[in-house]
């Protein structure tokens, strides 16, 4: 037991900060664990990036036209049913449950980004 303590006192392990691409930027303090789930809310840039990725990967959308303030029906020429499909895809991406009335009102990227950013449970 004392031997183990003595060995452990002398071992030095290099601290490695794992930075995988696309993950949340973990600060340099890799020993700090965020046990609370209340302070890891999404940043606005992350929300914008993910929303634009979802919209761009929609088959009926031209990816070069997608900007953060594009309107689904007016600018991208989509149908109202396509709008419903995009909102469902966003729900799946961010693990949200949007009520039907609210989902009906999401018409453009602006509204989508705002809604998701202000949602407390956006994953």
């Amino acid at each position: 037991m004392a031997l183990r303590a003595a060995v452990l006192r002398h071992i030095r392990l290099p601290v490695q900060t794992l930075t995988a691409t696309g993950s949340r930027p973990q600060p340099q303090w890799s020993f700090l664990r965020l046990f609370s789930s209340h302070d890891d809310h999404l940043t606005k840039e992350e929300v914008i990036d993910r929303v634009l990725d979802v919209v761009k990967s929609f088959p009926k959308v031209d990816p070069s036209k997608v900007t953060p303030d594009v309107h689904f029906q007016k600018d991208l020429g989509l149908d109202s049913l396509d709008n419903v499909e995009i909102v469902m895809a966003l729900e799946e991406e961010f693990k949200l449950e949007i009520p039907d009335k609210e989902a009906d009102k999401i018409d453009s990227c602006n509204l989508a980004i705002e809604y998701i950013y202000n949602h407390p449970m956006a994953g």
């Binding site: 109202s80 049913l81 709008n83 419903v84 499909e85 909102v87 469902m88 693990k95 949200l96 449950e97 039907d100 989902a103 009906d104 449970m121």
Partner: protein, 117 residues
């Protein structure tokens, strides 16, 4: 006179469009509940889309109402008994799992030992 009826017509059409959108949304989620595997879901989703697109250009208000009612009846018939609900949403598994404790409650850390201090 015609302005009022045109406005009423448009209002009714708008309400019908909203019903159609909500019906499509619910039917799509239901399709995802039934067809969990993605390739099956895409197939079923495109079939559903075809069904909605077939009646896209209907004009008469009453036939549209009947079609929406028939669609909602089909939806109610095919609803999944155990749908996937996001855990923190009502009906999900984590809903009110850790409710916020009522305000005014505080922890007494030395209960029973106040006299010994």
């Amino acid at each position: 006179m015609s302005g009022a009826t045109a406005a009423a017509y448009l209002a009714r059409r708008a309400a019908q469009k909203e019903r159609v959108r909500i019906l499509y949304r619910r039917a799509l989620k239901d399709t995802l509940n039934w067809a969990v595997h993605r390739h099956l879901f895409y197939q079923d989703a495109s079939d559903l889309r075809e069904k909605f697109e077939a009646h896209k250009h209907a004009e008469d208000l009453d036939t549209i109402d009947k079609m929406i009612a028939a669609g909602e009846a089909t939806y109610n018939k095919w609803r999944h008994p155990d749908p996937y609900i996001v855990p923190w949403a009502p009906g999900g598994s984590k809903f009110t799992r850790n409710p916020v404790p009522p305000s005014g409650i505080e922890i007494v850390y030395d209960y029973g030992r106040e006299d010994n201090e």
